[in-house]
């Protein structure tokens, strides 16, 4: 234990001549256990360029006294430039190694991975490994990205049924995104904000095979999750019904896995996706009186319509722009074949862009929270 340097976050950036720059965020166990009052971070960042990941790790040990060890690595970060060149060779290398685990999360950073890792500066957590673990786990209540373990990515890279989508990461730049519809319709690096840790995770990076081909925003990733059936619970905002501008905030959860029916008899193939959601009302800008079931129905129809449009828009992007089945529709097509060669010969991933995909969203508002009706200022008219 005392002879090892525990890497908590690993960064990989491709360099010329097929070399790789490895950046390692390494824990200083003494400072993790007890704050020594020096005010210094309980970790340091070191990097080296090598012919392979393991060569670079050996070179790191030219100036890191303890032996570099990946047993506790929580995440592997790769720069977008590297991801566009292909990531399979790196993930294969890591999954062959007994120290690294397939349950490490894969993050694709907007800039070089080295820069991203150097900027990590957790405030609440002293332990950067725990910080990264918790930041990634936040998807359970934000839905801004999908689980993207080394295992998930490697399975999807080789699969004839789906394409990988990894977590989108970046350093905060805060400009927002031109043409964004909702506040969450942004990717990492675009969240308008001030203060806090400089790194942010939101959105997804879409792959075709092992090469990155595009990015999705936080809202788009929620739509992807709803189709994949991995959406858990998140506060989702949709425009309120009616002509006045305003927002309706819902605590949304997936009632049951989506039901996807497949018709391979037609050419192109047709898929019908039925998504069932449940919602609690969190807030409505113009203070609807929720007490009436008629209003509830109106709200849920509006929310279902907006979410359906969002999902259809992402499906269109996936089909037309990325030509990548990031939803895993292929996994529902697969059981319609009797043998593996028949399924492979069908070449689903090539047919996906032409497939007719219908989306149906069923949303039920179940609860209205602790407020039965809005507080009305004196003299205000009931809407």
């Amino acid at each position: 234990m005392e002879e090892l340097a525990w890497v908590l976050v690993l960064g990989l950036d491709q360099r010329p001549r097929q070399r790789v720059e490895v950046t390692a965020l390494i824990a200083i166990p003494r400072r993790l256990q007890q704050d020594d009052g020096s005010g210094e971070k309980p970790f340091f960042v070191a990097s080296a360029v090598g012919d392979t990941i393991f060569d670079a790790m050996n070179l790191l040990n030219c100036y890191v006294s303890r032996r570099i060890n990946l047993t506790h690595a929580k995440a592997v970060v790769m720069g977008m430039d590297t991801a566009e060149q292909g990531i399979q060779v790196y993930l294969d290398g890591l999954s062959r190694d007994r120290e690294a685990r397939r349950i490490m999360s894969v993050l694709i950073s907007h800039g070089p991975a080295g820069e991203f890792i150097r900027a990590i500066a957790p405030r609440i957590e002293a332990n950067p490994g725990k910080y990264m673990e918790e930041l990634i786990a936040n998807r359970q209540f934000t839905g801004f990205y999908e689980p993207s373990l080394v295992h998930d990515i490697l399975v999807a890279i080789a699969s004839p049924a789906e394409e990988p989508v990894a977590i989108r990461a970046a350093l905060s730049e805060g400009p927002g995104r031109p043409g964004q519809e909702t506040a969450a319709d942004v990717g990492a690096g675009e969240v308008p904000r001030r203060g806090g840790d400089p790194v942010e995770l939101i959105g997804g990076v879409v792959f075709s095979g092992d090469r990155a081909v595009g990015t999705l925003t936080g809202d788009e990733m929620r739509a992807v999750a709803m189709v994949r059936g991995t959406f858990r619970r998140a506060s989702v905002t949709v425009p309120q019904p009616g002509e006045e501008e305003g927002w309706l905030a819902l605590a949304l959860s997936q009632r049951s896995p989506p039901r996807i029916s497949v018709d391979l008899g037609s050419d192109p193939p047709r898929l019908r996706t039925r998504i069932s959601l449940e919602a609690d009302i969190l807030m409505a800008d113009d203070g609807f009186n929720y007490s009436g079931q008629e209003t509830i129905v109106r709200l849920q129809q509006q929310a279902a319509r907006v979410l359906k449009e969002r999902i259809e828009a992402v499906v269109r992007r996936a089909q037309e722009e990325f030509q990548a089945d990031i939803f895993g529709f292929g996994r529902h097509v697969q059981p319609h074949f009797l043998t593996w060669p028949q399924w492979q010969d069908y070449r689903w991933l090539q047919r996906f862009p032409e497939a007719v995909i219908e989306v149906e969203v069923n949303l039920e508002i179940r609860r209205i929270g602790l407020l039965f009706r809005e507080h009305r200022p004196r003299g205000a008219e009931t809407r």
Binding site: R98, I103, E133, P160, A161, L338, T339, W340, P341, Q342
Partner: protein
């Protein structure tokens, strides 16, 4: 017939546990990957087909043996009916087959241990430890081996089931489709050659004299086939649901990789340390059982009154043979593609021929149609 080798008595349940450990220990090695490589998504079905065919062959052999009467083993019947030559052929051939099994199992378990947890320990040390424990078990004899097996089987089973539960978050049932995998023709042809993976069931024909009720031979053989077959098919099915085709074909030690995925919060992770302990014990027990059978077969084939002195020589021989493969890959290839997929001809056909000939060889060492 010469003096028979005596070595304690076991009941049907203990024999069943013995066969199950000897047959199914290979699921901890590359077996699930081999099945997926052969039959793709139908790897689990291939296991069931191979088990069914192997069980049928063992059942036929057990019935033939029972028809000879008494509590005799395969080599004893061969010797009694076909003369010393018959016993020699049966004993030596099957002994060598099982010795090769021990050697290749030892090498693969050693490689798994070194890959997973002991990267800096010399392979000779790891293999030597495995062989020493196996030798000790085989030396103690059938009662010790079978009782340990009887004691361990429920725990091994629970461990495997618990492993399946722990990787549930990664399990996608739809990955088991298409149901017929690489096709019906592949399932039939590879199902036949796959019977080699169940050759350890033949041990029942060797340990038959030690059964308290030799009449249970058929029941034990059938139960072992069914239970081992279902357990092994279950593991392969779970593997395919976690590591779908074609990824399933990329993993060296499937069960180890599955368990390495376990992460149920900060305090339930890295559970493979416990699993490796179970796997190594299972591997050593399997080696002990097969080593024991190999020595017993050789002793009977050569007409020796005792088998224990042979254990030391056979252990040394198997230890040496385990280092003949140049690499882990070659050890795996020799096991999967030579010993199993071709060895079944020797393992099943030779006993069938010998017992068939023994049935036909009337008047040789028989009285009233029974072996004396």
């Amino acid at each position: 017939m010469k003096a028979r080798i005596k070595d304690g008595n076991i009941d049907g349940r203990q024999a069943l546990a013995l066969l199950m450990v000897a047959t199914s220990a290979k699921v901890f090695l590359l077996f699930p990957r081999v099945m997926v490589n052969a039959a793709a998504t139908a790897g689990w079905l291939l296991v069931l087909i191979s088990a069914l065919l192997a069980g049928t062959l063992v059942l036929v052999l057990a019935k033939l043996l029972a028809a000879m009467g008494g509590d005799y083993s395969l080599e004893e019947v061969a010797e009694a009916r076909l003369g010393p030559g018959g016993g020699l052929v049966a004993g030596v051939t099957l002994s060598l087959l099982f010795l090769a099994d021990v050697a290749l199992t030892a090498r693969q378990f050693s490689e798994a241990l070194i890959t997973a947890v002991l990267p800096e320990t010399p392979i000779s040390v790891v293999t030597a430890v495995l062989f020493l424990v196996a030798l000790y078990g085989a030396y103690l004899g059938i009662e010790a081996l079978s009782r340990v097996a009887w004691l361990l089987v429920p725990w091994i089973g629970m461990g495997v089931v618990l492993g399946g539960v722990l990787v549930f978050p990664y399990t996608r049932p739809e990955q088991i489709f298409p149901l017929l995998g690489n096709g019906l023709d592949v399932l039939v042809t590879r199902g036949i050659t796959g019977t080699g993976f169940f050759m350890e069931l033949l041990l029942i024909l060797v340990i038959r004299p030690f059964l308290r009720q030799p009449g249970q031979t058929t029941v034990v053989a059938l139960s072992a086939t069914a239970l081992a077959g279902m357990a092994m098919a279950g593991v392969v099915a779970q593997y395919i649901m976690v590591f779908p085709v074609p990824t399933a074909d990329t993993v060296t030690f499937p069960l180890l990789q599955m368990i390495r995925l376990v992460f149920l919060g900060r305090f339930t992770q890295r559970v493979e340390a416990a699993y490796i302990f179970v796997w190594v014990i299972t591997g050593m027990l399997k080696m002990g059982i097969v080593l024991y059978a190999s020595a017993l077969l050789l002793a009977r084939g050569l007409g020796l009154p005792v088998f224990r002195p042979l254990l030391f020589a056979l252990t040394l021989l198997a230890f040496a043979v385990s280092f003949v493969p140049d690499s882990m890959v070659q050890a795996f290839e020799w096991d999967a593609f030579t010993l199993r997929e071709r060895g079944w001809v020797v393992g099943y056909i030779l006993p069938l021929v010998l017992l068939g000939m023994a049935l036909l060889a009337r008047g040789i060492g028989r009285k009233g149609g029974r072996v004396r």
